[in-house]
């Protein structure tokens, strides 16, 4: 076998000095040509809309055809455009059709959405003259942005490799789920076109840097494109099979080829790390994303001493003012690191805190923390719990004072932060140790992950159907992005989203009332916008069985009731007034069997290897012996 592999490696004598420069010329020219043809398609579409005017019976077939051609032209340009200048594409071309606060502004200024996704909503109703007017107005805004856009960069082979992998991730998580076609709904032709452009460029690289991985891609890539051509039924598309059989192998091969090609790797071109671990070839795996990018705790600090310190602190009620409550009180290992309550019990043991305790497994893969997204990192979020009068009701100073009475803790801090000596016991290091422990609560070994990685052939057909629905007809995957199935947005996985669902206060109340919690609208001063009222972070659905009840207020006890809420169109579908609901308000039209399949899929995402980690005892506090009665995990 090895001999065959070696024999298959063919190298052309290539590259006198200018050959590589030439390849950049070719690739840059392709990029330019795609941008030009996108602009031309847009100009043409605008002139068609103008000639259709407000005619009662315009040539709808032709308009639709022109619109399709415009989208395909965009999709051919998109993969390199988004790789080189994601912000331009998001701000001006293909951002989500929702208002948002202006970035880095002097006050709360709203940026209204523009671009293809806004156009798509109007395009779905092109028969309506008013919608055609709106479409034209939006198209002209896009035209102006593209006119002003004068990018100054060249495309190199290494760009194509990395951008291709991003394109595969985009196809897997967004392309197959109709993320960016809110109006028309079928994204499969778009996805095919985007991958087609990728393959065109990879084929060109194949002529200058051939490799066995490329030869394997030559087998697989055309078949993937043919598959997409032959399977155009959005509701019935086998996403699980297509992802496992085509996209994941192509992702791996593309990485293998890049590394073998000698063309520079991403880390040789930039000094700042990114969230996606380029060196890792498996997507449904713990190695896919870089946890240190999210936790901001340096990987070098992850020593056994640091882990043990973080673990003890997580279960030690000494962190609370009355030495009774530990982090694990509301984040219990046996309950997926949640607590099974709609809202957690307050320190006074009578009232409840504001919201439902989220599970912590895989919570690290997030740019922001809390349901209202108010905290920046796992390091920063702790202070909110520590100072909240309903939670730990104390401050770092008092905690460090108590810990200083323990020789064991002193030693453990010194061992975890050896360079800092006696200064090691500090609030800063306490935050780091706990953040590091929580960041370590990761699991990517569910049955579904193993099937996706090809480690097992066993998968219940019902689960497979469930994934296909989750990522397709049921539209779950347009907010719970694969592979973490949380709100961290692909293909960069560096930004966390929140959504307005319109969750009621009590699902059975009559009349039904929207939960009054303002959510993100009152999280950060700079995000106090009306469209963020009742907006909440999108959590992962991994290990969801363990973390009932659901939603920010724990309003739903079962996955069936959650699915029913979504299937009926969220708050609006239930007759509530939710002016900025981001969930489609139309009914999803899922049958009972389909709901059963989706739940079966979510149930396979079960993987909690951390159920036996509660320490048996806690360090002695010599200076304050009465503290030595405290129980690991605290008393609730």
């Amino acid at each position: 076998m090895l001999a065959i592999v070696l024999a298959a490696i063919v190298f052309y004598s290539f590259r006198q000095s200018g050959a590589e420069v030439q390849s950049a010329d070719v690739l840059t020219a392709r990029y330019n040509q795609r941008l030009d043809s996108f602009r031309q398609r847009l100009d043409l579409f605008i002139s068609q809309l103008e000639s259709a005017g407000n005619k009662k019976k315009p040539d709808l077939a032709q308009l639709n055809q022109q619109y399709r051609a415009l989208r395909l032209a965009f999709k051919r340009w998109e993969y390199l455009a988004d790789y080189k200048d994601a912000q331009f594409v998001k701000d001006h071309v293909n951002g989500v059709p929702l208002p948002k606060p202006e970035r880095n502004s002097f006050g709360l200024n709203t940026v209204e959405p523009h671009g293809l996704q806004v156009m798509d909503e109007a395009a779905a109703e092109m028969i309506n003259p008013e919608q055609r007017m709106e479409l034209r107005a939006q198209a002209k805004i896009l035209q102006e942005s593209l006119h002003q856009y004068r990018p100054d960069f060249r495309i190199y082979p290494s760009d194509v490799f990395e951008a291709s992998r991003q394109a595969i991730l985009r196809a897997l998580s967004m392309g197959l789920s109709a993320f960016d076609v809110p109006g028309l709904g079928n994204s499969l032709p778009d996805t095919r076109e985007a991958l087609h452009a990728v393959w065109d460029d990879l084929k060109y690289l194949g002529t200058i840097a051939p490799h066995t991985a490329f030869l394997s891609m030559q087998q697989k890539f055309p078949l993937a494109l043919v598959y997409l051509e032959q399977h155009n039924d959005f509701d019935r598309f086998d996403r699980a099979g297509f992802t496992r059989d085509y996209l994941l192998p192509l992702y791996r091969l593309c990485g293998e080829w890049h590394r073998a090609s000698g063309f520079e790797l991403p880390e040789e071109r930039r000094s700042q790390p990114v969230a996606v671990n380029y060196a890792d070839d498996a997507v449904f795996s713990d190695g896919f994303l870089n946890p240190y990018w999210y936790s901001q705790v340096p990987a070098a600090l992850e020593t056994p001493e640091m882990k043990e310190l973080g673990r003890l602190l997580f279960y030690d009620p000494i962190l609370s003012h009355d030495n009774q409550r530990a982090c694990s009180g509301c984040h219990a290992p046996s309950k997926g690191f949640a607590d099974g309550l709609p809202k957690s019990l307050s320190g006074d043991r009578k009232s409840f805190v504001q919201r439902n305790a989220p599970g912590l497994l895989n919570c690290v893969y997030s740019e922001r923390f809390f349901h209202d997204l108010r905290a920046e990192s796992l390091i920063d979020q702790q202070e909110h719990v520590i100072s909240d009068p309903k939670e730990f009701n104390t401050d770092y100073f008092k905690i460090i004072e108590k810990l200083s009475g323990s020789s064991t803790y002193k030693r453990m801090f010194r061992e975890a932060f050896p360079e800092q000596g006696d200064g090691a016991m500090s609030a800063q290091n306490l935050r780091l140790a706990i953040a590091q422990y929580v960041a370590g609560l990761r699991s990517f070994n569910s049955g579904f992950d193993r099937w996706m990685r090809g480690e097992t052939e066993e998968l219940d057909p019902l689960v497979r159907e469930g994934y296909n629905l989750f990522m397709g007809k049921a539209a779950c995957g347009t907010c719970h992005f694969a592979p973490v199935f949380n709100g961290t947005v692909p293909p960069l996985y560096q930004e966390t989203e929140s959504e307005v669902l319109g969750v009621p206060e009590h699902p059975n109340a009559k009349p039904l009332k929207i939960d009054s919690d303002p959510g993100r609208g009152a999280g950060r001063l700079k995000e106090g916008a009306p469209y963020y009222l009742h907006s909440f972070k999108t959590p992962t659905v991994r290990n969801i069985v363990a973390t009932a009840p659901y939603m920010h207020n724990g309003a739903y006890n079962t996955l069936e009731s959650v699915m029913d809420f979504y299937n009926r169109g969220g708050g609006i579908g239930h007759g509530l007034e939710v002016p900025f609901q981001t969930l489609p308000s139309e009914k999803l039209g899922l049958s009972k069997k389909e709901i059963k399949a989706i739940i079966a899929f979510m149930k396979t995402l079960e993987d909690n290897p951390f159920t036996h980690v509660i320490p048996v005892s806690l360090p002695k506090i010599e200076v304050t012996p009465e503290l030595n009665n405290r129980k690991p995990g605290g008393v609730f």
């Binding site: 490696i9 590259r15 000095s17 930039r270």
Partner: protein, 610 residues
């Protein structure tokens, strides 16, 4: 498989490893003459607090989100430099230092070897320690989002500015998470805060923010909110050498430029406020000293036809002129609401015409009034911003240095000269520093985004600090000298020169790559400007075919003799970096040691980072 990998390597222009045995010409990159030293870390350093909200005086961790830095010279003891005041641009409830934002003050001295040290101090109110929070809660009322401010260079007086306009007690308080007290506020109940005519007046609590606020850094307490300068989204200001005139800059869009002239030098509690209107005969609109007017200064001024700017930030005085940053915005139009009454400032007209010239290849054919109409109607996508120059003799404003570069063509195969090395956008901090008799403008970016070439494609946001030689008659972007020591990836704010050796600068947001405790907000000093070779931006780029490299130790850059692709190898010959289509290589994050640099022709040079 190893053998095949090696085969691939041998055939590409930048093999993944090279043979280093070959002796090549060696270039030395001397140590940077600049040294940085961390002085004050938010969330880690401890501030001494006063008795607040019923809690006794004590201590707690300093707030974060450092922004403006004020400096008050005080050489009362040997080696002492003076008091540093640092803004905290945030709003958060805090039982000990007070709600909202705030400030921290400390005294610096310089010891042997140009080291800086924070000096232990005893304050009049009994506090002892190194860092002190400025007491606002018990004096003039809490402050919020302390962003910019004013250092009165002649007298060391300090004002802090409260950005982020508040419009209701509900959003201001945010359920008590930002500010616990939403009761009405009575002006002048604490001496000496207050003004003749305003004392005893009652305002809503949220109306007691968004003022310029004077503090006493030496006693770590606030003096007064400057009600007579008006309530607006103030960001910066300048006290003129006459000690009577104060210029004020509003971070708004439309933002206004205001001027206060004191009746008596040094006493800013009485005088006359004006707002700039470049098309009025006198150039200024007189604002009456009436609290209702002052509470709504921006609205009143624009309704009366004030000149409208696009987010003014910081400024400083130099040689009869004031230089002000106008940071720009990703989207704006002055075509609606009260902005219809204002006039488009000359800086925006200059900016629009400059962009028109580059993007179309022709000069703007119309009048300035027509250019102003284009700006008003949203035809100017002012994503770069500029530095403005205000001439005190003529009361005229103009664009001094336009951000950029704009590109004439889209997707040209022919690269734009200088880009991506030359790029300057969204200027924010501004100060002057005199080194060896030469005065430089120090200007810092605060990027609103990375698109439209504000960052070279694919690179993360990096807000750079530049020096500009003020002797140059008509400076262009190519004259900006990048000081890499100030730009490790995070947002840098507050740069201020404390003398000809040292500047202080803040890192506001932690950078992901920083190791603890440097993943917090930091104030640090960069020392050694007096030891730098002239801060010029000499271009070694001569376009010749010879492969030559010139080090710039201050900027930590290797300049190349022409635009090219290069790869860098470590001492063992392992490829560690590939730079495409560049005229220089930034080596600021290289550890000292031996490296090799190679071009696509395979020519290799050895360089040593000291």
């Amino acid at each position: 498989m190893l053998a095949s990998a090696a085969l691939t390597v041998a055939q590409i222009p930048f093999p993944v490893s090279i043979d280093t045995a070959w002796t090549a010409k060696t270039i030395w990159m001397p140590k940077s003459p600049l040294k940085s030293q961390v002085i004050f870390t938010g969330g880690v350093d401890v501030v001494k607090t006063t008795a607040t909200y019923g809690n006794p005086a004590g201590q707690t961790y300093a707030k974060q989100w450092h922004d403006f830095i004020g400096f008050t010279p005080d050489k009362s003891s040997s080696g002492d430099l003076g008091w540093v005041s640092v803004n905290h641009e945030m709003t958060q409830r805090n039982d000990y230092v007070g709600d909202g934002g705030g400030m921290t003050v400390f005294k610096l001295k310089r010891t042997d070897g140009d080291k800086l040290e924070v000096v232990e101090q005893s304050l009049a109110d009994g506090r002892k320690g190194k860092f002190f929070n400025v007491d606002f809660a018990n004096t003039v009322g809490e402050t919020g989002m302390n962003c910019g401010g004013i250092t009165d260079r002649a007298n060391g007086r300090i004002w802090t500015a409260e950005e982020w306009m508040q419009t209701s007690n509900r959003t201001f308080s945010n359920g008590g998470a930002n500010f616990r007290d939403t009761s009405n506020f009575t002006i002048g109940v604490t001496a000496p805060a207050g003004f003749p005519g305003f004392n005893g007046k009652v305002i809503k609590r949220f109306q007691n923010v968004n003022w310029m606020v004077e503090i006493d850094p030496v006693n770590a307490k606030a003096i007064r909110k400057q009600y007579n300068w008006g309530r607006a989204g103030w960001e910066g200001g300048v006290v003129l050498p006459d000690n009577k005139t104060v210029f004020l800059f509003e971070d708004g869009s439309p933002g206004i430029l205001a001027k206060f002239v004191a009746t008596n030098a040094g006493d800013f509690t009485s005088g006359q406020l004006y707002v700039y209107k470049h098309d009025a005969p006198s150039k200024w609109i007189t604002i009456e000293n009436n609290l209702d007017t002052l509470l709504e200064l921006n609205t009143v001024a624009v309704r009366r036809g004030a000149s409208m700017f696009n987010r003014l930030e910081w400024g400083a005085y130099h040689n009869g002129k004031i230089y002000i940053t106008e940071t720009g915005r990703d989207a704006f139009t002055y075509n609606s609401g009260i902005a219809k009454s204002g006039v488009i400032s000359k800086g925006l007209v200059d900016g629009y015409k400059a962009r028109y010239r580059v993007m179309t290849g022709n000069s703007f054919p119309g009048t300035d009034a027509q250019a102003a109409d284009s700006v008003r109607n949203g035809r100017f996508f002012d994503y770069y911003g500029r530095v403005l120059e205000f001439n005190l003799a003529t009361n005229e404003v103009r664009s001094f240095l336009e951000g950029g570069p704009y590109f004439a063509t889209s997707n040209s195969q022919v690269r734009t000269a200088g880009y991506p090395m030359v790029h300057f956008s969204n200027p924010d901090g501004l100060d002057f520093m005199t080194v060896k008799g030469k005065t430089y403008m120090m200007v810092q970016e605060d990027l609103n985004g990375t698109s439209f070439n504000r960052m070279p494609a694919g690179l993360p946001i990096t807000c750079e600090t530049y020096f500009l030689d003020m002797d140059l008659a008509n400076p262009t972007l190519a004259d900006l000298v990048r000081i890499t020591a100030c730009s490790p990836g995070a947002e840098m704010t507050g740069a201020i020169a404390i003398d000809s050796k040292t500047m202080l600068i803040n890192q506001q947001h932690p950078a992901v790559t920083n190791t603890p405790p440097y993943d917090n907000s930091l104030t640090y000093a960069i020392t050694g400007f007096d030891g730098t070779p002239a801060l010029s931006n000499e271009k070694f780029f001569d376009g010749t075919a010879t492969f030559t490299v010139y080090p710039n130790p201050t900027a930590r850059e290797l300049h190349l003799s022409r635009r090219m692709d290069v790869a860098i190898y470590d001492a063992l010959g392992k490829r560690i970096r590939v730079e495409r289509d560049v005229e220089l290589v930034n080596v600021s994050d290289f550890t000292p040691g031996v490296y090799f640099i190679r071009n696509t022709e395979g020519e290799t040079l050895r360089f040593v980072v000291e």
